[in-house]
């Protein structure tokens, strides 16, 4: 098939927003908080990032604004579920619906606006190599940063003291509390950090990937990122793998169509989801995998001294 290099490039690009949001949600869930607000948080961040990019013409400030917006909205979520012990699922959905509405409202002046950021990216010298150049080395810097972030998170979670504390809070908040760790503050910090990452993902979508703002433009990618955390059994490297798999299958079906391969597009549109279910089934066949990695306190509130 022609254009394999371009397909690889498109896959990396398509998987990146999913990977960033997935890593953020992984951080949330590692401390025991399920953040169903991801879709709404990404939308609010997308419009914040877009507005910032329109005003400042800077992608990096836009990512910052997205992170800030995502972090703030997550702060609200975190305060509700960690201090007020509201139900995590209901609160997350409420945040998601709220974020969807808020972004639509705040985004009205930005519908149809144009961004003047962007341009060609890539790593000098490497980008001119045959095949691997166009396939791997002409991406937006965020693509490489995402890979670095996954590696860093993997290392931090499993090889550092901080990671151990985070995981302890997620596994057994009571024990962590007994050891003197401020469980609720650690949870809040992780929720805000994860929300900020979701925010970066949202801003990446509206500023880099599809440089426009329209209501509802995240189109369900927040929910896909949520599924990715289970898919990845809460391991950062597998989040990356899952995101690229999902992006790859999506792009493959579009490329096959463009190159004239006869497969019903309805079937093809289903394929990324089908492959996700397939992998979930494979993972679930080994319950140990899930049990070893799933934070034991996931979704459960914790009140110190109660």
């Amino acid at each position: 098939m022609s254009g394999l290099d371009l397909l690889v490039a498109a896959t990396l690009s398509a998987g990146t927003p999913l990977a960033i949001a997935g890593l953020g949600l992984l951080v949330n869930e590692r401390v025991g908080v399920v953040n169903l607000g991801a879709e709404g948080i990404m939308l609010v961040a997308a419009v914040s990032g877009f507005a910032t990019a329109v005003a400042t013409h800077s992608e990096w400030l836009a990512f910052g604004a997205g992170a800030l917006a995502g972090g703030l909205l997550s702060l609200v979520l975190g305060w509700l579920v960690i201090w007020l012990n509201t139900n995590q699922y209901a609160t997350g959905l409420a945040v998601s619906i709220f974020g969807t509405g808020l972004s639509a409202f705040a985004g009205i002046p930005f519908v149809g606006r144009r961004l003047t950021t962007g341009g060609h990216h890539g790593i000098p010298w490497l980008r001119d190599l045959p095949f691997v150049g166009p396939a791997l080395f002409r991406q937006h810097p965020m693509v490489y940063l995402t890979i670095a972030l996954a590696a860093l998170l993997g290392f931090a979670l499993h090889r550092t003291r901080l990671g151990l504390v985070v995981r302890a809070v997620g596994e057994s908040p009571a024990s962590a509390h007994a050891l003197g760790y401020p469980v609720r503050r650690i949870r809040l910090a992780a929720v805000v950090a994860g929300g900020a990452l979701c925010g970066v993902a949202g801003a990446y979508l509206s500023v880099v990937y599809t440089p426009l703002w329209v209501e509802g433009m995240v189109s369900g990618r927040g929910w896909i990122a949520l599924a990715l955390t289970v898919f990845a059994t809460w391991r950062p490297a597998r989040i990356l793998l899952g995101a690229y798999l999902f992006g790859g299958v999506t792009m493959l079906q579009l490329h096959l169509q463009a190159s004239g391969v006869q497969v019903p597009p309805q079937f093809m549109a289903m394929l990324p989801y089908l492959s996700t279910v397939g992998v979930l089934v494979l993972i679930s066949r080994n319950p140990l995998w899930i049990r070893l990695n799933m934070p034991a306190s996931l979704g459960k509130p914790f009140t110190p001294g109660a």
């Binding site: 999506t250 169509q257 463009a258 006869q262 989801y273």
Partner: protein, 380 residues
């Protein structure tokens, strides 16, 4: 919305609730109907109440935006004789029926269902409410109080094709399709025929995204077409994502539904724009004058409902002149987009030489014309 397999079973149900919550935004809340039990025709002095349901958000800058613009302009032109209400983001399916019944209950006497997928719902609700007039965009079922209207969008696609055929360097055009229904296939064919009328070497590649509105997916589809050598794109989806993908790649594309020139000044060759206001004014007047009757209305370039607007000033004058000539032909009725001989892409003649396609032919388009690559995905 793309729902991924998620771990929480209740999610789907709650999401449905979320969608419902999201589609309850209304403009100009109608006053309580005093005579709910006696549905009499609108008296003089009392404004006609008209309701609209939209499939997308009014901020989509596309299909729904164009309908809403038409609604606002038509209401303004009626100068207080008509009061309109709308409900946006109504999912195609059972929900549409609920929203339609709701609009009836609020006292609307004229209701517009502005998406093909509302057909079953509007047919059912029309049957139960004989005193209310219903209008369904792009549908084909009529009843005593239900009529259909559509725009000959393919005329806009044809004009776009004429420009595309002259601007392409690779002679490969790309089309991002939503669903393989006759309406969309007509646009693909008209785009290709328009391009071939000025450049016989044209081929068109088609990618289907199985959605009317999913900007990231539309971007991905556009990217895959560009990767495969297409250098002028058109889409039958509702956002400006394809246009922006072309802008980024230094290629060309068109706006769809409404004027999208602002988002991609370097890539934008023109916008196939709809103007529904004329039809809505006619419809309001039909009801107010008591001349409303079930019929099928198809308006095109001639009636001002469709046009290729904001044609790029950087396009060569010669190319623009050819677009103007075709536009004049469509206006004067001397040009018809689907005039035989038309051959499909398997070599079969689908319209004989000299024959102008009728509505039945246009409503049953299920093939690609010669020059479009691939096969139409089986619809049913």
């Amino acid at each position: 919305m793309n729902l991924s397999p998620s771990k929480h079973a209740a999610l789907a149900a709650l999401l449905a609730a979320a969608t419902l919550a999201g589609c309850s935004k209304k403009e100009a809340p109608p006053a309580a109907e005093p005579h709910a039990a006696a549905p009499a025709p609108a008296k003089t002095g009392e404004p006609l109440k008209a309701g609209f349901i939209y499939v997308g958000p009014v901020g989509d800058a596309g299909w729904t935006f164009a309908h809403d613009k038409g609604r606002r302009e038509a209401e303004a032109k009626m100068g207080g004789k008509v009061v309109t209400t709308f409900v946006e983001k109504v999912p195609e399916g059972p929900d549409a029926e609920r929203v339609l019944r709701d609009l009836v209950a609020q006292g609307n006497k004229l209701i517009f269902a502005t998406s093909f997928g509302f057909m079953d719902a509007v047919t059912k609700v029309a049957k139960d409410n004989p005193d209310v007039k219903f209008e369904h965009a792009t549908g084909y079922r009529t009843a005593d109080n239900l009529r259909v209207y559509e725009a000959k969008f393919y005329e806009g696609a044809y004009l776009a094709g004429i420009l595309a055929g002259q601007m392409t360097k690779s002679n490969v055009l790309g089309f991002v399709g939503s669903f393989p229904i006759p309406e969309v296939l007509r646009n693909i064919n008209a785009f290709t025929l328009g391009a071939q009328s000025v450049n016989p070497k044209i081929t068109t590649k088609v990618v289907w995204v199985s959605a009317w509105f999913d900007p990231p997916r539309e971007t991905e589809a556009a990217q895959s077409l560009l990767d495969q050598g297409a250098d002028v794109l058109l889409q039958n989806t509702d956002s400006s994502a394809v246009l922006q993908a072309a802008e980024r790649a230094g290629k060309y594309a068109f706006g769809w539904d409404s004027d999208m020139s602002a988002v991609a000044p370097k890539a934008h060759l023109g916008s196939c724009a709809l103007d529904w206001s004329g039809y809505y004014v006619k419809s309001f007047n039909d009801v107010l004058n008591g001349t409303w009757k079930p019929e099928v209305t198809k308006w095109g370039v001639k009636e001002g409902a469709v046009d290729l607007v904001k044609v790029a000033s950087f396009a060569p004058a010669e190319a623009r002149k050819k677009v103007d000539a075709a536009r004049q032909g469509l206006k004067a009725g001397t040009l018809a987009v689907f005039t035989g001989p038309i051959v499909d892409n398997t070599g079969k003649e689908v319209l004989a030489k000299g024959v102008v396609a009728d509505d039945a032919w246009k409503g049953a388009v299920n093939f690609y014309v010669k020059g479009v690559e691939g096969k139409v995905p089986a619809g049913k």
